[in-house]
């Protein structure tokens, strides 16, 4: 298998990144310092009306957390990308994006005029700006995931943010199952109890990956995923 790194960059905390991850490649996101949060959203680049569908992703795999073996479904029964490697074990699909009101309430206002590139940013507005670069807007932004963060649901349904879920060097690798427009944002998790505005950087690498093998961890996770790959393979016929 050809696994040479094709691209490598560091995304600072509080920043936004987008790219069309091509089928046949994989994106690895590495938590450089520990405690990173990466809000992520995915759309089929060939038809952005097909986009990440959180409920379909959760119910197909009977899970309320994301980890190695899980795949991210679109609303059309197809797989956008697969979590082929993961050294974290729990990524949050529930709590969504920080927004301007939440960030100002938690950390106070910090304008660009006063703070230059250390100004306070939020995940929702940042993602909307990034989507705008592709002609997309709020109607195209649905539920998102938060990589590297853990939110536990108690017996009563109450949410609890679990700190120190990820340490320096932990990573998640996403294999593109179609050409997938990927929007990432490194603002802090909306439930992160840290009272200081301290978003963490991550490293991104892109590499070639070979075709899916018969013992692929994602397609063998459950019968639902095997059918999801059948429908995704059909999409490419």
């Amino acid at each position: 298998m050809h696994t040479d790194t094709l691209w490598k960059e560091t995304v600072p905390g509080g920043a936004t990144w987008s790219h069309v991850i091509k089928k046949g490649t994989a994106l690895r996101i590495t938590d450089l310092e520990g405690g990173a949060n990466v809000a992520a959203y995915f759309l089929n680049f060939e038809n952005t009306m097909e986009r990440f569908n959180l409920p379909d992703t959760l119910k197909a795999q009977h899970t309320a957390r994301l980890a190695k073996g899980n795949v991210l479904y679109s609303d059309m029964g197809r797989i956008l990308c697969s979590i082929t490697h993961d050294t974290v074990g729990w990524h949050d699909p529930i709590a969504g994006l920080s927004n301007a009101a939440l960030v100002e309430k938690k950390y106070g206002a910090a304008s660009y005029q006063d703070h230059r590139n250390d100004w306070h940013q939020n995940a929702r507005d940042s993602m909307l700006i990034e989507l705008g670069k592709y002609g997309l807007d709020g109607r195209d932004l649905q539920a998102t995931v938060n990589f590297f963060s853990k939110v536990q649901v108690g017996e009563s349904g109450a949410l609890q943010f679990i700190p120190n879920n990820s340490q320096a060097g932990r990573y998640i690798e996403l294999r593109a199952e179609m050409n997938v427009l990927t929007i990432l944002n490194t603002c802090q998790h909306p439930l992160d109890p840290n009272p200081n505005y301290e978003p963490k950087p991550v490293e991104l690498t892109v590499k070639h990956v070979g075709p899916r093998s018969p013992d692929d961890v994602c397609s063998n996770l459950c019968p639902e995923n095997r059918r999801g790959f059948i429908l995704t393979d059909f999409y490419h016929l």
């Binding site: 309320a64 529930i94 969504g96 539920a143």
Partner: protein, 219 residues
């Protein structure tokens, strides 16, 4: 069972300005004005009512499951829950609930997700997102598939465990149970009365529901 915030209502159905039965598998699109009270009744029990809300004056501002869950710190909806929009506005407040727990993580069934979840051959079974699309065709005004987002499933039971498992469990609703919401802004209500036959969300038997709306001055 988690803490269900059970609350009954004194509103009299004979004074409702809108009183409509939605058959199983049918859609409904209807505007609810600020201050009006919306009641959804599970007429025969264990029926999932897939529901979306839009700001009636800006459909790009719509119900957000994740913002609603995060702001109340709980995945289940019940009396006292404020339904949040994507812009952070409170759209509706649940003012009465005799069921005690409603889902907003499980989403709506679709012909495509039925193929994934059950069998490729299930493509030809009726599904909620076809009903949502029928709503957008009937309602027009710019509403399209782009606007179909993560919904509420009134009366549906989707427990999540502390170790992160999610299941579709038998319903906790019974015949006559209802949920009542006060509109905090003018909203467009979009319902698919779920036709799903493949899982216990409808007890394998989709049944009618009743939708009632009262003016804000009935008290």
């Amino acid at each position: 069972m988690p803490t269900a915030n059970l609350q009954t209502s004194q509103l009299d159905p004979t004074t409702a300005l809108f009183n409509f039965v939605v058959e199983a598998g049918d859609p409904l699109a209807h505007e609810v004005k600020q201050g009006q009270i919306l009641r959804i009744v599970d007429l025969e029990g264990n029926q999932a009512v897939d529901t979306l809300f839009y700001n009636a004056h800006d459909y790009s501002d719509r119900y957000s499951a994740q913002d609603t869950i995060r702001e109340q710190g709980n995945i289940y909806l019940t009396t006292g829950t404020q339904l949040m929009s994507t812009s952070g506005a409170v759209m509706l407040t649940i003012t009465a609930d005799t069921c005690g727990r409603h889902d907003t993580l499980g989403g709506a069934c679709s012909t495509e997700s039925n193929m994934v979840r059950y069998a490729i051959e299930k493509r030809y079974m009726h599904a909620c997102r076809n009903s949502f699309l029928k709503c957008t065709l009937q309602w027009k005004n710019g509403l399209t598939k782009r606007d179909i987002t993560s919904n509420i499933n009134f009366f549906m039971n989707v427990p999540v465990t502390p170790d992160g498992k999610l299941t579709f469990a038998d319903g906790v609703s019974e015949a006559g149970k209802y949920v009542e919401l006060r509109a905090e802004m003018d909203v467009l209500l979009v319902i698919s009365n779920c036709p799903q036959l493949n899982n216990p969300c409808n007890a394998y038997n989709p049944t009618p529901i009743q939708v009632l709306i009262w003016e804000n001055d009935v008290f």
